[in-house]
């Protein structure tokens, strides 16, 4: 068991001196306190989260012309419109390809840059951090034309490759900075111990840091995925082929000039959001397996 060096000597002394002391008595009886502290705020926040989603479901599932606040009788006409009529079946595959590629590429590049930021001192580091930040200072809409020219030169216009590249470029700075913060939170001693055992730096990284980075990888990876999944502007501008568009472009089709189809917009929204929420529901449990579980075993 690798014990962590604690700088607060008082804490250290206490810890080595004695065993566990029960948590201090709470002024409130347990259940009431849990309601006030946990379930109450959670219910309030859950409501805030749910109402807009509920509204979306109401519009997606109720038949045209109904203004009932419940989606009854259920109608799937809107889903037929977006899946078959608007072409979501194609857009969906394109979006998956782009978002998964961006997620993977971003994570790899960001782990490398994040590790460098967290574990090395090197000349130009401050400038590098500022450059990362600077990339976030200009709205994408102001960069469309030069980017279009670049992608045209490398023959990536009308190619999903352009979306993968540009979404990755825009996700990396954020991801790299977050990665470095997370890596810095992992004690260097773990790595050092492994290196003293004869591991190379890379081996030490894989043996000690990587397993502890699951929450960070999941958080950063899902941010990159979602950022790419939802990008509208680049998809619309760099693609001029109907069969290469992505879901956000499909969603915007429901907002016509004279015909805003709220039902189709909501149904498209459900199609766009359900897979992401589902994937999120699965990976969120990895958010909690990290140092707390792993460090103690060293």
């Amino acid at each position: 068991m690798t014990s962590l060096p604690l700088t607060r000597s008082g804490v250290q002394a206490q810890r080595s001196a004695g065993g566990r002391v029960p948590v201090r008595a709470n002024p409130w009886p347990g259940r009431l306190s849990r309601v006030a502290r946990l379930y109450g705020p959670l219910a309030l926040y859950g409501l805030f989260t749910l109402i807009p989603f509920y509204w979306m479901l109401v519009f997606a599932f109720r038949p045209a012309g109904s203004d009932r606040p419940v989606p009854w009788p259920l109608s799937f006409a809107n889903f037929d419109t977006v899946w078959n009529g608007v072409g979501f079946s194609t857009f969906f595959l394109n979006s998956v390809l782009v978002a998964v590629s961006v997620m993977i590429a971003t994570t790899f590049v960001a782990v490398a840059a994040g590790y460098a930021l967290a574990r090395f001192r090197f000349r130009g580091k401050g400038v590098f951090v500022l450059v990362l930040l600077c990339t976030q200072f200009v709205p994408g809409a102001m960069l469309l034309i030069p980017l279009f020219v670049i992608f045209k030169q490398i023959a990536l216009i009308n190619n999903l490759g352009s979306l993968i590249v540009i979404d990755t470029v825009f996700q990396i700075p954020l991801a790299a900075m977050l990665m470095s913060t997370f890596i810095r939170g992992i004690p260097f001693e773990l790595e050092e111990a492994a290196m003293l055992d004869g591991c190379s730096r890379l081996q030490a990284f894989r043996a000690t840091i990587l397993p502890l980075m699951q929450p960070a990888l999941v958080a950063v990876g899902s941010f990159a995925f979602i950022g790419a999944w939802n990008n509208f502007l680049f998809a619309l501008m760099f693609i001029s082929r109907q069969d290469r568009f992505t879901i956000p472009v499909g969603l915007s089709y429901t907002l016509g000039q004279y015909n805003i189809d709220f039902g189709a917009l909501a149904a498209g929204g459900v199609v766009a959001a359900v897979p992401v929420v589902a994937v999120f529901a699965v990976v969120q449990r990895y958010l909690v397996q990290g140092l707390s579980a792993g460090a103690v075993k060293g």
Binding site: F148, V149, S252, T254, G256, N259
Partner: protein, 443 residues
């Protein structure tokens, strides 16, 4: 669990990388300006308002065209209406325009200024189309370009009309307004704040100033955008009076929400029963038909000025343009001619609920049987109707009307700016832009 996560991740990585590489290597980044292979020419066509309500009918017409012209293939691309100008801007600057594209006259001037469009007078003069496209609309379009050439051809004819809820008018035993006095009386009679119903819906948000122009010129009967000295007529006393009267409805005979109304909010109020009248063009017909069904709504020409003339501000028609950079202009023009031919034009407009631009198609039974379109057609053809061409050729036109005067119109509604000051500022900007334009386009 880390291991399984990692191996899954590895598999996903490799699959995605393989797919991405395949995509890049297959060289499918084809140029959007079309290509020819084994005798078949592919032209690209961009729809400026793509979506489930239009795309299927374009696809059907494309199928018919390709069947009749086996040597031409048309590549359809639907673009969301809100972002289409940005898409054109990027494509023009970066070099990736289509062969033929849907455009609206409201932004055609900007495309012409960048030499992005090809004159298509020859298509209008072709054997099948000559004399068959509404000449009043062609005049409006010609006014967009300083060389008076045609850079777009209209697919539909449009005009602002007064939409009203015929069911609510019947319930209150009101007749549809023919004069502005009738209009204001009806607006009052149909208002019942307790029941959350109002007589009128003002468009205060996006597109609001353009709608206001329509209302004020119809009210004042002023027949030109500029007087003989080149001064804008926007602050004509009768126009100011119209602005005052409409603004006075706000919050009383209209919902307070109207200050931010764009088209969709205004239309939702009308279809939802909150507002009994609204001013919009024929374009919203399909929307009302879908949400309300026949019998609950009807259209009437804009109320007449006191002397009985109806003054309409020319609506920006929707149509097609051929792009300068196209490598296949002949094929693009052929497709354009096909789209505007009587049968195609009739098929298209019938399905999207618009008034055909082809005069032969306008005679079709379905137009005559559609009361709203019939009102539009009769109004346009009437000798008492006068059309005011607004200066959409001014490069600053959109900026003045939308970004500068839009927020000020909201200030007028909220009582923070007087109608007079508002109209004076608007007229001033327009007069200056006109003088600047005249100086740069002598003759």
């Amino acid at each position: 669990m880390p291991r399984s996560l990692r191996s899954t991740a590895t598999r996903v990585v490799s699959a995605a990388l393989v797919a991405a590489t395949a995509l890049t290597l297959s060289g499918c980044g084809g140029s959007s300006s079309g290509s020819s292979s084994n005798g078949v020419t592919t032209i690209s066509f961009w729809d400026n308002n793509g979506g489930p309500t239009r795309t299927p009918y374009y696809q059907e017409l494309i199928k018919r065209f390709e069947a009749a012209n086996p040597s031409i293939k048309v590549d359809y691309l639907g673009l969301p209406a809100d972002s289409v100008q940005q898409k054109y801007d990027t494509a023009i600057a970066g070099g990736g325009t289509p062969d033929i594209g849907g455009v609206q006259q409201s932004y055609v001037a900007g495309l012409i200024a960048r030499n992005a469009l090809e004159p298509i007078d020859d298509v209008a003069d072709s054997a099948t189309l000559k004399g068959n496209i509404d000449p009043k609309v062609l005049d409006t379009i010609r006014s967009t370009a300083s060389d008076k050439k045609l850079y777009m051809l209209p697919v539909s004819v449009n005009l602002d009309i007064l939409w009203y809820r015929s069911d609510e008018f019947a319930a209150k035993k009101l007749t549809p307004p023919n004069t502005w006095d009738d209009f204001f009386t009806a607006a009052q009679a149909l208002t019942d704040p307790a029941a959350n119903t109002f007589g009128f819906s003002i468009r205060g948000g996006a597109g609001g100033t353009q709608a206001l122009l329509s209302i004020m010129y119809a009210y004042s009967g002023v027949q030109t955008s500029f007087d003989s000295s080149g001064k804008s007529t926007i602050n004509d006393p009768k126009n100011v009076e119209a602005i005052e009267k409409i603004a006075a409805l706000y919050g009383k005979e209209t919902s307070k929400a109207d200050v931010t109304n764009g088209y969709k909010e205004m239309s939702a109020e009308f279809d939802g029963g909150t507002a009994a009248m609204m001013v919009h063009n024929l374009g919203s017909y399909a929307d009302h038909q879908k949400n309300l069904g026949a019998g609950k709504f009807a259209a009437e020409a804009m109320p007449a000025a006191p002397d009985g003339t109806r003054t309409l501000v020319a609506n920006a028609p929707d149509g097609f343009a051929v792009f300068q950079a196209s490598q296949h202009k002949a094929e693009a023009k052929k497709f354009l001619e096909f789209m505007l031919s009587k049968d195609s034009n009739s098929y298209w407009n019938q399905n999207v609920g618009q008034l055909p631009s082809n005069l032969q198609a306008q005679k079709d039974a379905w137009v005559q049987a559609n009361p709203a379109l019939k009102v539009g057609q009769t109004t346009l053809a009437a000798s008492t109707t006068h059309i005011v061409d607004v200066p959409r050729y001014l490069p600053q036109y959109g900026s003045i009307v939308e970004s500068q005067m839009g927020p000020k119109w909201q200030q007028v509604l909220l009582g923070k700016l007087s109608a007079k000051d508002f109209a004076d500022q608007w007229a001033d900007l327009t007069t200056k832009a006109q003088a600047d334009w005249v100086a740069k386009h002598p003759g």
